[in-house]
Subunit: 214 residues, 2 copies
């Protein structure tokens, strides 16, 4: 199969939109979540993000990247104002609704209303969850890191509560995301469902991994 080589100068010479599509594809399949927030004035906001990353389990920390000049800035403003946000996995039934949150709605419009998703409040948590999601997390803001290299911002939050489909939680703590219908994305706009190949045994120098059923 023929491989194509692209140099730095060839990549930089791409049209801006072409390059954005290209580079966004190269990162591989990405986690997508709807981030739910609310301003102190009570206006809710919902936005789709594909830059969610696991930072650690003790304490449980997740992070995401924000581009401050984009439709994502309302999310950032609400988190810095109130300290709370939710992460909600996207399944096929709500895919188009989720994608539609990336439209540039005015500040006074709640995307929950605009894209027809249900705002849900659990256990007195300040930020709104997406009722139609089967994996929901409530997080408290912990740290903002300015990435001076390109003006983006990383937000780190601590998981304060989790709501998941009971049937998804395995005996060893593994959450079956396929059972929850969680989707993944590639590039800027391509969405994918998954098929599990298997879980592999913990790697040791002296053995070769095999598939395991827990």
């Amino acid at each position: 199969m023929k491989k194509k080589h692209l140099s730095f100068s060839e990549i930089m010479a791409f049209d801006q939109k072409y390059r954005a599509t290209f580079i966004n594809s190269l990162g591989g399949f990405k986690s997508i979540c709807l981030i739910g927030t609310k301003s102190n004035a009570g206006l809710s906001n919902l936005a789709i993000f594909s830059s969610i990353i696991h930072i650690g389990a003790n304490p449980p920390l997740m992070a995401f990247i924000v581009r401050p000049d984009s439709a994502e800035r309302h999310t950032l403003e609400n988190i810095l104002e109130t300290n709370f946000f939710t992460l909600n996995h996207v399944n096929q039934a709500i895919l188009k609704n989720a994608h539609q949150t990336s439209a540039r709605y005015p500040r006074e419009v709640s995307e929950f209303d605009a894209v027809k998703l249900s705002e849900e409040y659990n256990n007195n948590f300040f930020a709104p969850f997406v009722k139609e999601s089967f994996v929901q997390m409530g997080l408290q803001f912990r740290e903002k890191i300015d990435l001076k290299i390109n003006g983006t911002i990383m937000i780190i939050g601590e998981i304060k509560q989790v709501i998941i489909l009971e049937s998804c939680l395995g005996g060893d703590g593994f959450v079956d995301l396929e059972l929850a219908g969680t989707l993944t994305c590639s590039g800027l706009d391509s969405y994918h469902s998954t098929t599990q190949i298997g879980r592999l045994t913990y790697a040791k120098p002296s053995t070769w991994p095999t598939e395991v059923l827990y």
Copy 2:
């Protein structure tokens, strides 16, 4: 469908291994890449990472998270010593080989040899690529960010060259990762192939997204 609620104190009371498995699952589907490096002394290293994240397209930047006390530390040492690394997507033919790189091999062992993957050098780039991968990137180290919150480290690199299957590159810059056989993972050890649902149109407040073929 019944949902289960887990509070922060319940999560923190989990057994450590159970919590690691649980929290690692919650981030959703993750990008997996083999990171190839080489020391100045000429010893190559290869390690699987599931914390790859897109930082920006202009310039093209990618980042990943390293846990310095793990098998990943040789990767970190080589990058800080030499400034170069490669990211190589994982396909099903090399999945077990890729997973096996996470075993704690001694410093003097090259994982390329130990897991039977082919070290490839392209266009005088210092760091080794994985020949069996169909999406390969060569990166130059740009920034190290210490996440004091839990002692992990974020490494940001700039994409200096890309080698991909020619047939994967679409007319608008989109890279068809399914054609390249790129896999995704969830949790610590679960690997998945994907099936494209579709690409959705750019979201605008006045319209509803539809699927498009580019």
